[in-house]
């Protein structure tokens, strides 16, 4: 049964958008529950992108011919769509290759601009993806800022208490960089509370997991920066975006230097192009950016509120059904802040074995491992009541999933438990 958000007709159209859903894997209908790693690709978006490449493509901004003008218009229209999607202005949206690129660019640019200096503190959380952890740790070595953490409790949950404790421990962090939603615990972070608590800090939101299913309004959140990837919301890989408040972007030194980002170049000096081009050095992923625009069109044609409610419904069902299995240990919060994905372990069975059998015998795609959050595994180990394997199984849904998919997962897990005894 599909989510009650969709009529049978609407769901039928959704299924036709994702041809791989009709594919068999190991003799079974594919049950794709690895959406947190990357989502499936849609017929509409890919065929529109193909049409763009085949019939309208050329490099952008640089020539006066017709194709250049068509391609530039498409590219800039895509930027407007992204801007509208997050309630920003076009010139505040920079295309990137994704979240990882966005955060690396920001850390470097903040340091180069003197907005983050030796002795300053950056506050992140213990549940961050390596993309929002490793750049801070490494560059703190070179530039002398400190990295402090909002601690997670032993279910991996960030509470308002832990945020307040961090505030009392860390005097005025210069930057607070936090994920909108954990890719391990599924927790949607209390961003409003964090903004409220650290009024003077530069706030960076890693939107990788949140933006695919929850409206992010950068103005309402008063967020200084937002980074995300397109591939977790059905766009192609290799494209993402960085939002920054105009005043901050204007002060920010670029991360990449080269063509197109300049205004005037002499043998001695350089002045920069206007926003957002100052941050888009070199030939961009033009087709990817255009496809991100088509993606937003498609998601909005379904109704983004419907997608959000569909994910809420499926998440609740997934969490409830997994909770009924007494041999399953679930990580993360046990309330409605737990969205779109659930990490868990089967007592006595290694996550790799779980995922392998689910794939081989049921055609179910899940993810197992540390999910690019190694330090968080040691936090979860503390709260674990089983022999914790330093990794978890993760099942994650998107709007083309059904309750039946979750039922098949539950059947699969019972089988795995019997098989490995």
């Amino acid at each position: 049964m599909h989510s009650t958000e969709w009529s049978d007709e609407a769901f039928c159209r959704i299924i036709q958008e994702f041809p791989v859903l009709n594919r068999e894997v190991n003799g079974k209908r594919l049950v794709y529950l690895d959406n947190a790693a990357s989502t499936l690709k849609s017929r509409t978006v890919i065929s529109k992108m193909t049409d763009f490449y085949l019939n309208h493509y050329s490099n952008i901004h640089r020539a006066v011919h017709t194709l250049a003008s068509e391609a530039t218009t498409e590219y800039e229209t895509a930027r407007e769509k992204v801007a509208r999607f997050i309630n920003a202005q076009s010139e505040e949206v920079v295309f990137t290759s994704g979240t990882t690129m966005g955060i690396n660019a920001l850390v470097n640019s903040l340091v180069r601009s003197g907005m983050l200096r030796e002795g300053d503190t950056v506050l992140i959380s213990q549940v961050e993806h390596h993309a929002n952890l490793v750049p801070w740790i490494r560059l703190s070595r070179f530039f002398g800022f400190k990295v402090e953490y909002i601690e997670a409790d032993n279910t991996g949950t960030i509470t308002t208490d832990s945020i307040l404790t961090a505030k009392s421990r860390v005097n005025n962090p210069k930057v607070v960089s936090i994920t909108g939603q954990s890719n391990v615990t599924g927790q949607v972070m209390p961003i409003e509370f964090i903004r409220e608590t650290f009024k003077d800090a530069i706030l960076i939101i890693d939107g990788a997991q949140l933006i695919p299913h929850k409206k992010i309004d950068v103005k309402a959140l008063n967020s200084d920066f937002l980074v995300f990837s397109g591939h977790k919301m059905i766009a192609p890989t290799g494209i993402g975006a960085l939002y920054g408040k105009r005043a901050l972007l204007e002060r920010l030194e670029p991360f990449l230097y080269g063509g197109e980002m300049i205004d005037k170049v002499t043998f001695e000096d350089v002045t920069f192009n206007v926003l957002p081009y100052k941050f888009e050095a070199g030939t961009q992923d033009i087709g990817g950016a255009v496809a991100l625009g088509y993606t937003i069109d498609y998601l909005e044609s379904l109704g983004f509120e419907n997608i959000q409610r569909c994910i809420e419904e499926l998440s609740k069902y997934l969490l409830e059904e997994l909770s009924k299995l007494d041999f399953v240990e679930i990580y993360g919060p046990r309330d409605e802040t737990h969205q779109s994905l659930v990490s868990f372990n089967l007592d006595g069975v290694h996550p790799h074995d779980v995922s392998q059998v689910l794939d081989e015998d049921f055609g179910i795609a899940t993810r197992s491992g540390h999910h690019c959050a190694q330090p968080l595994m040691s936090v979860l180990a503390k709260g674990s009541r089983i022999d914790f394997p330093n990794s978890t199984v993760r099942a994650s849904v998107y709007f083309y999933n059904t309750k039946e998919d979750i039922d098949i997962l539950i059947e699969g897990l019972k089988y795995v438990k019997r098989w490995f005894g």
């Binding site: 290694h350 996550p351 790799h352 074995d353 392998q356 491992g369 540390h370 330093n390 990794s391």
Partner: protein, 142 residues
């Protein structure tokens, strides 16, 4: 099906599990990407591997692989162990190998068709390689 009866049985073997108190060589191996860990304890009698035990945890493939490896190693010389190791790698990477040398380890032949699981299988073997190359050094930990 990667989980053959052999692999399932060997993943549950207990006889090689544990520590050797006065081991001549202790070597730790890790697969960071999945959290699997193994510690191998070696006892030598001259040039011969007289006993091996292991501690650690991991998936069924890595556990079964460790047990089969130990079974095959006990009683062999270090030189023979190197030869076995070389043939194990040949088997995993689709090259010619001597199945006489590998004994029960040939039961893992199909793992090569599961690229994501090859590193699970190789964990104890990579650890063995470290141990053999570290010959003559003191145990890593007392």
């Amino acid at each position: 099906m990667i989980y053959s009866e052999f692999i399932m049985d060997y993943s549950k073997l207990k006889k090689f599990h544990g520590k050797i108190e006065n081991a001549h060589r202790i070597e730790e191996g890790k697969n960071l990407s999945c959290g699997d860990e193994v510690t191998l304890y070696f006892l030598f009698d001259g040039d011969k591997i007289s006993d091996v035990k292991f501690e650690g945890h991991g998936c069924a493939i890595s556990q079964a692989s460790t047990n089969a490896m130990i079974e095959q190693l006990i009683g062999k010389t270090k030189e023979e162990a190197f030869e076995i190791l070389k043939n194990v790698e040949n088997m995993m990477f689709g090259r010619d190998f001597d199945d006489q040398l590998l004994g029960p380890v040939t039961n893992f032949y199909d793992v090569k068709n599961y690229p994501m699981r090859v590193k699970c299988f190789l964990l104890p073997w990579k650890t063995l390689e470290l141990a053999l190359n570290g010959e003559g050094k003191k145990p890593l930990k007392e």
